[in-house]
Symmetry: C4
Subunit: 291 residues, 4 copies
């Protein structure tokens, strides 16, 4: 009897922490979202020297509060999952750990600057909370279009890189060190800056020949910016259905999916995308607990 109650207590917590179908689950997610955003703002404010000097104590305390909150959340996540090792070694398990420990590590490695980067990783946690996004339908089609065009865009970017290396070497020879093209890697960097139409201007060709080649690179870049756009555009047009019939049936299917799936997450194997009336996990067969 006690085990059962404990089980219930655990599964209740599991539902709050991992799912977003109950009011408590939604509240938990919102609080977590605010905590993550607050911690990111803290990292930003801390990097502003004048602000840090004035409010160092406040920032320090806030950071500790958030770290402790994250620690509690991390422990609860481990407790409520049946296979904690699986969670700890999962992508989000590692992200959760990495976003909790920087403050503890700062006690050991005093003044270590790089811990800031770890704290920025907390942003990645937002994606978990935003699992609701997939119910929008929008990002699903978007993700599909990007996935479908990934290989093609990779081939294309590879060609851009080779062009950058060749043009970079030519510009290094033409412009030389006195005009900022101090070595080939820097020349290649300049070439990427130019091809992508970013154009910082910290390095710029000075000789007429260099400017002529630069103009060629720019027009080339202007012409080829069309390629990835065309790919995504075509793939996305296909993904959303080119004829209205297919589109309607697509939307219907999408809607059917939206109706059926919820945010439940199996306490045993952490599988998601369960149907609304499902009693057992579709992956491992363990019962899903609905309070």
């Amino acid at each position: 009897m006690e085990t059962n109650q404990k089980h219930t207590w655990k599964s209740k917590l599991h539902e709050i922490i991992y799912e977003a179908d109950t009011p408590e689950g939604k509240l938990f997610d919102v609080v977590l979202l605010i905590a993550i955003l607050a911690s990111i703002v803290l990292v930003m404010l801390e990097s502003i020297k004048s602000f840090d000097e004035k409010y160092h104590l406040f920032l320090n305390i806030s950071e500790w509060v958030i770290t402790i909150l994250f620690t509690i959340e991390y422990i609860l996540r481990i407790i409520t999952v049946k296979k904690p090792i699986r969670y700890i070694l999962s992508f989000y398990g590692i992200i959760d750990l990495l976003s909790t420990i920087p403050k503890y590590l700062s006690l050991i490695f005093v003044g270590t600057h790089a811990l800031v980067a770890l704290r920025a990783l907390r942003l990645l946690r937002i994606f978990r909370i935003l699992k609701l996004v997939r119910y929008l339908g929008a990002s699903n089609q978007l993700a599909n279009a990007i996935k479908a065009s990934r290989a093609k865009i990779a081939v294309f970017l590879f060609a851009v890189l080779i062009a950058s290396v060749i043009f970079g070497t030519i510009m290094y020879l033409v412009e030389g060190e006195e005009h900022g093209f101090t070595n080939i890697p820097k020349s290649v960097y300049w070439c990427i800056v130019t091809l992508t139409t970013v154009g910082f201007g910290d390095i710029a060709p000075q000789t007429p020949l260099g400017q002529f080649i630069a103009a060629l690179i720019m027009i080339l870049g202007y012409g080829i910016i069309a390629v990835p756009t065309g790919i995504v555009s075509a793939e996305y047009t296909k993904a959303t259905g080119s004829n209205s019939k297919a589109k309607i049936s697509n939307e219907e299917q999408e809607q059917l999916k939206s109706v059926r799936l919820n945010t439940q997450c199996c306490a045993n194997c952490m599988a998601q995308k369960h149907q609304d009336g499902a009693e057992f996990c579709h992956k491992c067969g363990c019962p899903l607990h609905h309070e």
Copy 2:
């Protein structure tokens, strides 16, 4: 009898001010358009110091003339509408008020700089006059395509923002204060400047590692600029009809709409988009007055 005449006089004015189907209504709109553009030019010229010093009196008088014109128009708009409160609290009602009062406020708050911004809001009034735009058909389809892709572009921009924060933090750690990346918010700002391929160059990475990461960011930005373009392109293709048949019927429908709708605006509830032969408002049932 007198009431009826007054009513006629009011409804006549209403037709001139709010509608654009009669010659007087069109003239009113053109005059208002010129007044708005003139007031914007005045704001601009006033901000040029050398010009302001020479022609201060002229600018001041012109500004007063336009302010008084706007005041009269605002009062007339209130008078000719049956439910003035509704107009005053509507979007355009507030814009109209805000674009009228800056000069009066400048008498009270002498030298307040921020009033300039209020005056710039006058530009938003152009959109009301340009209600004719919707008869072009073009902007309607455009608006639909943008509306349809709004949610998807928002998801996409959100991803861009998260990428900016993560890369910005990394660049802050790599480049540091001595190379212009003085704090994380500034680094994130630089990252947005780079990802959007704007590339001011006021801040630019100096270390080889920083330039390498910057090159990655740029190529990423170059690759993902394709995404919103692809979305709008696909949505717009759908909106304008992918097969010629649907397109023709679409155009027919569009044309039918164009023929039927006019710029009349109900004096009672301010509803628009009345059909050409309509005698009564399709929202509140009040009679529409045709002279």
Copy 3:
């Protein structure tokens, strides 16, 4: 008899100068093309001070040679056309005159700089020679797509301009004169530079708030760059035919047109696009002379 011979001589010349179907006509066009390009190169070289100082005499003589060539061509064009006034007042007639007179004017207005601009107008003459372009089919479809999306892109650019004015005014208030935003027109200019993702960096926001607004403008610009692209893309897809059947019949029609039309140009009314076997002008009924 003499009149007839003169007529034949004139119509022969007309064919050479205005048409490109005979070998002589093609040769004339190629020579003219080279002369135009040479004159543009001359204008460019003359503007390079160090070059002009060394080779001033050579440049001056070359310019005179080209000017005399253009003068002869202009006179021949007037002689061979039946209605010279019509030609002189036509678009290309004015361009021809303007590209001929700068050197003569330079004798009168010694050292007048602005004549250079007139000489650059010679480039516009290239378009006449390139009337062959329309046989490529490519530019025709392209031109149609651009024509179809012109109105929509205009509406869009209008919205961009209004956004630039409003954001420009805000940036002027936020950043102020000390950071380069010396007046509203300059702020608007900066805003256009940023929205179009050009980003010169000669003016750049320095205050945190200014950089925040700038980031918003950039992301906005990044998002809306998709709109004109989507429009042209959709229109072009329609223009080239969305289903393969329509495409083939389109190409057939295009080919049929290409077969039928030639570069003949009526000596009387200057109408073009005559069919290959045509004996009389389809505009004015005058006989077309085939040698």
Copy 4:
């Protein structure tokens, strides 16, 4: 008998060097790929002065090792082909020679800087190794879309160039030498930088009129960036099939092709794209040797 064995030995080597279907052939390609990338990295490192000074001997030795490897490969390629002259004069034959000789030439022309450029050409060799790319299907469709839109993009870029020359000349007259627009070629260069939205900012208009024209150029550039994108997008949509049926059959065909073709390369005529069970070259009829 000996001839036959020699023949077998030669054809075995041919298979390893020119083809990628056997494990040895694949290993050879991977080793070559690494050697090419290493040689590119060496060229880059050598251009970094501080690195070159420290590790000059190491770089020199590595470069000699790679040069000797490339020499052996080049000799083997000549030996194993039946018609060596054909290989030597082929595109890849010339690239192979050019990427081998720079180090030898540096013994004769001591300190000649330009040899670096020759070494960068080695990157082009990657494309041969990556003949596998065509099995991805992706780059094939991409190449087709680019090929189909090449002529149209050329027409478009030609128009951009003419616009650049005309606007460049105008900006030269408006801004003049004192603001960086020292001559017309430089002005045209600036115009290309602006039209392509690169915007270095090393040259930027200073006068109000110049900034106004620059704003026009930028908005023009912003509007026309849509054109090549629209072209590629439309062509690519066509290439990948607009209706799902055609798409599936396309993919099937693609797959059929992938199944049938291998990387074999005829030892006699160097023809490629042989079918998997082919016994004789489809171009010259010589037997293909399968060990």
